[in-house]
């Protein structure tokens, strides 16, 4: 069970962070890897102003999990994925991906991480594939990024393509434009798996796909997870998110909510802030002054300032929220 950390407290004592810190370059054997973010901040420095895309993300992903990162446009989902892939260096905070401390790793170590540990599927299949290579050749192209030793251990392209259901000879010899949209997206996923990474990061893998193709891709993602690879998918489609084992809602650069086993939970941030569910937010509009106190049964009660109770007596509850 993955827990969120507030400070350094551990709820169930399970370590979910990799053993090393500080940019270790040990080989990843392809086993699923975990990811841990602590207070992750990323700021885009544009001309004349800065944009805080991630404002302190605390997140733990267990090895072998399948995660969907949900959230509206501009919430920071893609930024978080880019940071996790080593494409952006955090402005502050800590990020451990497998054995790599991304904040401290050198460019060469990040390159090695992408060659061995992290597989990335960019948004839009055209950006993941070389249009003049066949499906098999695209996979081989991705495998050429590894070291010589690493290359000996990578799976055969056919096996990789089989994972995503593209192993027929006809499909292997086709070029991307000859495949259906769903097949193209699955091929993009296969390319990301070419070097047997421990984690696959997919950005909007089902965008611009019809329902059937979407289902194909989701099934492929599940197949990938079953191979023991951690899967993180960025999507704005709740239907896709519901197919993943766990959903994390990113809002305003922070983890706002999380969904497990069909249930949504708000997540208490390190600073104690919490993103209210939307229906509660309608009642407690931003700017509302509330009092929060802990009930003896462990729940928390939140009362707007206008409904102040008499001392020693339980307050009249109108529009209050109970936080479990």
């Amino acid at each position: 069970m993955t827990t969120l950390y507030s400070g350094s407290a551990s709820v169930d004592g399970r370590r979910a962070i990799g053993s090393a810190a500080g940019g270790s370059s040990s080989e990843n054997t392809g086993d699923a890897i975990a990811v841990s973010c602590r207070g992750l901040v990323y700021i885009y420095r544009l001309e004349g102003y800065d944009v805080v895309a991630l404002s302190g993300v605390d997140l733990d992903i267990s090895a072998g999990e399948s995660i969907a990162l949900l959230g509206p446009s501009g919430s920071g989902k893609s930024t978080l994925m880019s940071v996790m892939a080593g494409l952006l260096r955090p402005s502050a905070g800590r990020l451990i991906v497998g054995d790599y401390d991304v904040a401290k790793a050198s460019a060469a170590e990040l390159q090695q991480m992408r060659a061995s540990t992290v597989g990335v599927v960019l948004q839009g299949t055209g950006r993941n594939l070389l249009p003049y290579l066949t499906a098999e050749q695209n996979v081989r192209f991705a495998q050429r990024g590894g070291t010589v030793d690493r290359k000996r251990n990578v799976p055969h392209p056919r096996d990789v393509l089989a994972t995503v259901g593209l192993s027929s000879r006809g499909r292997m010899r086709m070029r991307p434009h000859q495949l259906t949209p769903g097949e193209r997206q699955r091929l993009a996923l296969a390319v990301a798996l070419a070097n047997k990474p421990g984690i696959v990061l997919a950005d909007e893998p089902t965008s611009q796909l019809d329902t059937r193709a979407r289902d194909e891709v989701v099934a492929a993602l599940e197949a990938v997870r079953r191979t023991g690879t951690t899967v993180v998918v960025v999507t704005h489609d709740p239907a896709v998110g519901s197919q993943m084992g766990r959903t994390i809602t990113i809002r305003d650069g922070r983890v706002g909510a999380e969904g497990r086993r069909g249930e949504d939970f708000a997540v208490v941030g390190r600073d104690g802030s919490i993103h209210l569910p939307s229906d509660v937010l309608e009642a407690f509009v931003p700017g509302t002054l509330v009092r929060v106190w802990l009930e003896p049964d462990g729940s928390a009660r939140m009362v707007p300032a206008a409904d102040m109770p008499v001392a020693g007596q339980p307050p009249v509850i109108t529009g209050e929220a109970s936080l479990w």
């Binding site: 060469a108 390159q111 090695q112 061995s116 081989r140």
Partner: protein
């Protein structure tokens, strides 16, 4: 069945390995159109780099070949001589002996002997020849190998062997009364006349005319040099007498000179062999000296002159080659940068998959590298093919493109430049991160560009300053190109600024085409580079075309000035009257003109003196800067109407009365009368006998006056034996001749006058009237000369280069004309230059000049005189044949067209052709660069257009915007480049040889006429329009369905 069909997995040998080259080749095939453009551009850059050394080499070879072919054969040939020395044994006694010895020496020098034909051997001795019925004359008794094949026999035979048989020239035979069968006596020139035992009798077997006196077979010539005595005491000379047997030239007391003439095979002399040829000649000369023989050749001097021209060609080559090479490099840099930028998404993909920087760079550069490597040999071959084509069209026959070290070096340089461009041009793109590579925001210009532009501006300023001081300085040679670069940079900056302003304005007004066009122009760094490339390329072409047009006009001017008429034939004639008669017979329509020239030494130089038929001058002469009416007006000034000559035919008869009045003095019985008659062979005094009292007819025959003779005057002189001073009156009533009574014009005042210089102190009063009264007193020993005034006292003359006198502005002066005696001249016109004779000469009427000259000497066989026939375009095409039939000897023919052709193959013209080729190559590169930018950005533009169409912008507006964008992008540099190129031409042309290496600057008119420049502009515009059409076609497919994922 394959293993894979059994197991479903690839079996051994069925693995499809993905190598880097597989990716490269697939990428090239995928982007076939763009790849082709890259190969063509790379090949064009290589071809342009190879062009300069390849063409320069071929052009220098052409200059060498043409120069040797145009040089007189006797200048380029070798003559090995053995001349007898008094008191010593001759080095060689026969031509056979000479051949053996010299061939032995040449066998040791195969490189030298390979350049020369087999020798023509000759032996000759100068003799005094006594014709059967004439006074002795000088003549060369000559033997020459195979002489009969080069003589045309007019009578008798040309014997191939036979002791004592000779052939004599027809004209000499006529002059000295020699016929076939005559016996002539010869003795050595230095043998005393009384040593009759040294005389040799020779029989004339035939009479000859030389087939072609200018044939190189005759070697140093001098065989047909009949003419007047060399000095007062020397004998006249007749043409050479040829013997059949070499032994006949050995006379008692007179040993012959033996010589071998080796004619140069001009086509064998290559640039590489010139140095060795000079060395071999020097060595050969030393070895011959050991044999007591002499080597005579002007070949080394000819080679030096040619080398000077070839060197001049080489010096002007950098003017276009350096900027062309820099342009190639810049275009290649542009090419590589654009290609790398275009593949940013693929580079991002490679980095995303963990490619190291080096591997990603190899992936990014691989396609370009492969295409450039392919383009290098293609471009080299294309460059050589272009040189070969140029050689066949423009250069001397036998000149071809050569694959030599400089060409290979240029190809390697082009490849190295391309590799450097590949290495550095895409470096910025390759260094970017994955996300930056995935973004499509065009990079902004950096401060490096500003520094580079500032450097170029500073260099341009320095070169302009250098050019203002010395146009031949190395830095000055780059001025035109740097000027074009600066113009391009300024144009691109101004266009960028203006576009940024126009974007706002178009946005405010809602003008979509303008908004689209100016938005692109204001933010694309590639656009600015294209502007610079096109400006420089157009500037180079405009410079080359302007230079060509100016030079073409200058060549025509120089050809016109140096030839003087459409055609000029150099001929041999007996005397000017014969020339005039032959021209009249050959061309009665009057489109040809007889001309006689003399070159007189004066001061440190010479003055060319030229007599022309004034009546035909306007019709025939081509005089730059003057029209026909002006020339006709000058001609009338050169030939003021004086009086018709008094023709004499067969005899002359004077009806005169030596008046006797009582006891008064009389000339009757004491004086005699002579007639002065000008004949073709000179002036003759014809004795008419003693004067007697009363009206008498005084008559005498005039030998040799069938036609062409005229009465110059009468003389009255004292009879021999009469002493004292005489006085009396002679009344001349009439003069008649074989054709009838001569119109003597006695009644014209001043028509008959006394030559006061020749009266010897006598007083003479000449009174005109129906009868000419000549009253003489004090007649002493000297005769009284009465002249018929048929010419102006002072010959009217047009002068170029100042009067040849102490005062160069003198209106009247004396100077030798056709005769050696100085002649009075009166200047009627001063000009900068005279046709054909240049900027130092005198031009006058031929007839008047001959009349005046013949009063003092004969012009027959005068070796000082050179005869020419000038012809206009309307003259008969077979004029040479007609003149030959009329008795003239055709020596050489020149024409303005032939001169132009020769000048167009001289070093300066060949250099300018390279300029044109380089300019065309530059424009081709520019068109390629425009095509490249269109291809590279095509996909992005298609997506942009698709997105705009989805947003509701009509296709028509998109097209108009695109067209406007390209019109500005290409139209502005076209105009700026033209201006920069022409300005560069104005600046540099005075420092570049345009016609010949030594053509004075003031002879050149630097205002270009309409010529190649409009064609160059049209071709450039066509090329750019083609590029725009291709650009339009690439974005025509920018339809909304492009936006669907996966559509290429």
């Amino acid at each position: 069945m394959r293993a894979s069909q059994v197991t479903g997995r690839p079996g051994p040998g069925e693995e499809r390995i993905l190598t880097g080259w597989t990716v490269v080749l697939r990428g090239i095939r995928y982007r076939a159109g763009r790849s082709l453009v890259v190969v063509l551009l790379g090949a064009a850059a290589t071809a342009a780099t190879v062009l300069a050394p390849g063409y320069s080499r071929a052009a220098q070879q052409s200059v060498l070949t043409d120069g040797l072919a145009a040089a007189p054969a006797d200048a380029t040939s070798l003559q090995v001589r053995s001349d007898p020395v008094v008191g010593e044994s001759p080095a060689m006694e026969s031509t056979g002996e000479a051949k053996i010895e010299i061939n032995r020496l040449l066998a040791r020098r195969p490189d030298l002997s390979a350049h020369f034909d087999r020798p023509v051997a000759g032996a000759d001795v100068d003799t005094v020849l006594a014709p059967p019925a004439a006074e002795p004359v000088l003549s060369r008794l000559a033997y020459r190998d195979d002489v009969c094949r080069h003589l045309k026999m007019t009578a008798g035979d040309c014997p191939n062997d036979g002791d004592g048989l000779v052939v004599v020239s027809t004209r000499s035979a006529a002059q000295y009364g020699i016929t076939v069968g005559s016996t002539i006596t010869v003795r050595g020139r230095n043998v005393p006349a009384n040593a009759t035992s040294s005389d040799r009798q020779l029989e004339v077997a035939g009479l000859y005319e030389p087939g072609n006196a200018a044939d190189p077979y005759w070697g140093r010539g001098g065989y047909f040099a009949a003419g007047m005595p060399e000095s007062e005491s020397a004998l006249p000379r007749m043409d050479s007498v040829f013997v059949a047997d070499e032994q006949d030239v050995t006379l008692p007391g007179a040993l012959p000179s033996v010589h071998l003439d080796y004619r140069l095979k001009t086509s064998t002399v290559r640039l590489d062999s010139v140095g060795q040829l000079r060395t071999d000649l020097s060595g050969f000369e030393r070895e011959i000296g050991v044999l007591q023989m002499q080597l005579s050749t002007a070949l080394r001097g000819v080679l030096e002159d040619i080398e000077r021209d070839a060197t001049a060609l080489g010096q002007t080559v950098p003017i276009v080659t350096v900027p062309l090479v820099v342009l190639c490099w810049f275009v290649l840099f542009l090419l590589v940068a654009a290609l790398t930028e275009e593949r940013s998404p693929e580079l991002a993909l490679a980095k995303l998959r963990g490619y190291t920087l080096g591997r990603a760079a190899r992936f990014g550069r691989g396609e370009t590298l492969a295409l450039v490597l392919l383009a290098a040999p293609v471009g080299t071959l294309a460059g050589l093919a272009l040189v070969e084509l140029a050689a066949r069209l423009m250069l001397s026959p036998g000149v071809h493109a050569e694959l030599r070290l400089p060409v290979l070096g240029a190809a390697v340089l082009a490849l190295a430049v391309a590799l450097v461009a590949i290495r550095f041009a895409g470096r910025r793109t390759l260094a970017r991160g994955v996300l930056d590579l995935l973004r499509r925001v065009p990079e902004r210009g950096r401060w490096h560009a500003g520094v580079a532009e500032g450097t170029v501006v500073a260099l341009a300023g320095a070169s302009l300053f250098a050019a203002a001081r010395d146009q031949t300085a190395p830095l000055a040679l780059l001025a035109p190109a740097l000027l074009a670069v600066v113009a391009g940079v300024v144009a691109s900056r101004m266009l960028g600024l203006w576009s940024r302003l126009r974007v706002r304005r178009a946005a405010r007004r809602g003008r979509v085409p303008g908004l689209l066009a100016h938005a692109q122009l204001s933010r694309r760094p590639l656009a600015h580079r294209v502007i610079v490339v096109v400006t420089v390329a157009v500037g180079l072409l405009a410079f080359a075309a302007t230079a060509w047009d100016v030079a073409a006009q200058a060549r025509r001017d120089v050809a016109t000035d140096s030839v003087g008429a459409e055609r000029v034939l150099q001929v041999g004639a007996a005397h000017p009257a014969a020339l005039v008669a032959a021209v009249a017979a050959a061309d009665p329509e009057g489109h040809s003109m007889a001309v006689v020239r003399v070159n007189e030494r004066y001061g440190a130089g010479s003055v060319e003196v030229i007599g022309v038929e004034s009546a035909r001058l306007a019709e025939v002469a081509v005089w730059r800067g003057h029209d026909r009416e002006w020339v006709a007006s000058l001609a009338s000034k050169l030939r003021p109407r004086v009086a018709d000559p008094l023709p004499v035919e067969g005899f002359i008869q004077v009806n005169a009365d030596a008046v006797t009045a009582g006891d008064g003095p009389t000339l009757a019985g004491t004086a005699r009368l002579h007639a002065l008659v000008a004949t073709p062979s000179g002036m003759t005094r014809v004795s008419l006998g003693q004067l007697r009292a009363g009206m008498r007819e005084y008559r005498a025959a005039v030998a040799g006056c069938g036609a062409g003779c005229r009465l110059l005057g009468l003389t009255v002189g004292r009879m021999p034996g009469v002493s004292g001073q005489l006085a009396g009156e002679l009344r001349v009533v009439a003069v008649s001749t074989g054709s009838g009574v001569v119109a003597t014009r006695f009644d014209e005042n001043g028509r008959w006058r006394v030559n006061s210089a020749r009266t010897g102190g006598a007083r003479v009063d000449v009174r005109p009237g129906p009868v000419l009264r000549v009253i003489v007193s004090g007649l002493g020993p000297a005769d009284v000369n009465l002249e018929y005034v048929e010419t102006p006292d002072a010959l009217p003359v047009a002068v170029a280069g100042g009067s040849p006198a102490d005062d160069s502005s003198a209106q009247d002066f004396t100077f030798p004309a056709l005769a050696e005696q100085p002649q009075s001249f009166s200047v009627v016109q001063r000009e900068h230059a005279l046709p054909r004779i240049g900027d130092r000469g005198l031009l006058f009427d031929l007839d008047y000049a001959v009349r005046l000259a013949e009063r003092t000497s004969s012009l027959s066989d005068n070796s000082r005189l050179h005869y020419e026939v000038w012809a206009s375009g309307q003259a008969p095409s077979d004029l040479a044949k007609r003149l030959s039939a009329a008795g003239l000897q055709i020596l050489r023919e020149d024409s303005i067209d032939a001169e132009l052709d020769q000048l167009s193959r001289a070093a300066p013209a060949l250099g300018l052709r390279l300029y044109l080729l380089a300019g065309c190559a530059a424009v081709a590169l520019a068109v390629g660069a425009v095509l490249l930018t269109a291809y590279v950005g095509a996909q992005n533009r298609r997506y942009e257009f698709a997105a705009l169409r989805v947003a509701g912008v009509r296709p028509k507006l998109l097209r108009r915007g695109l067209i406007r964008e390209y019109v500005l992008l290409l139209g502005i540099p076209l105009a700026v480049g033209l201006f920069a190129g022409m300005a560069g031409a104005v600046l540099m042309l005075p420092g570049i040889p345009l016609v010949t290496v030594g053509t004075p600057l003031d002879e050149i008119n630097y205002v270009p006429r309409v010529g190649v420049l409009p064609i160059a502009v049209a071709v450039t515009v066509a090329g750019l329009v083609f590029a725009v059409a291709v650009a339009l076609s690439t974005v025509r497919r920018g339809t909304p369905d492009r936006l669907r994922e996966g559509r290429p």
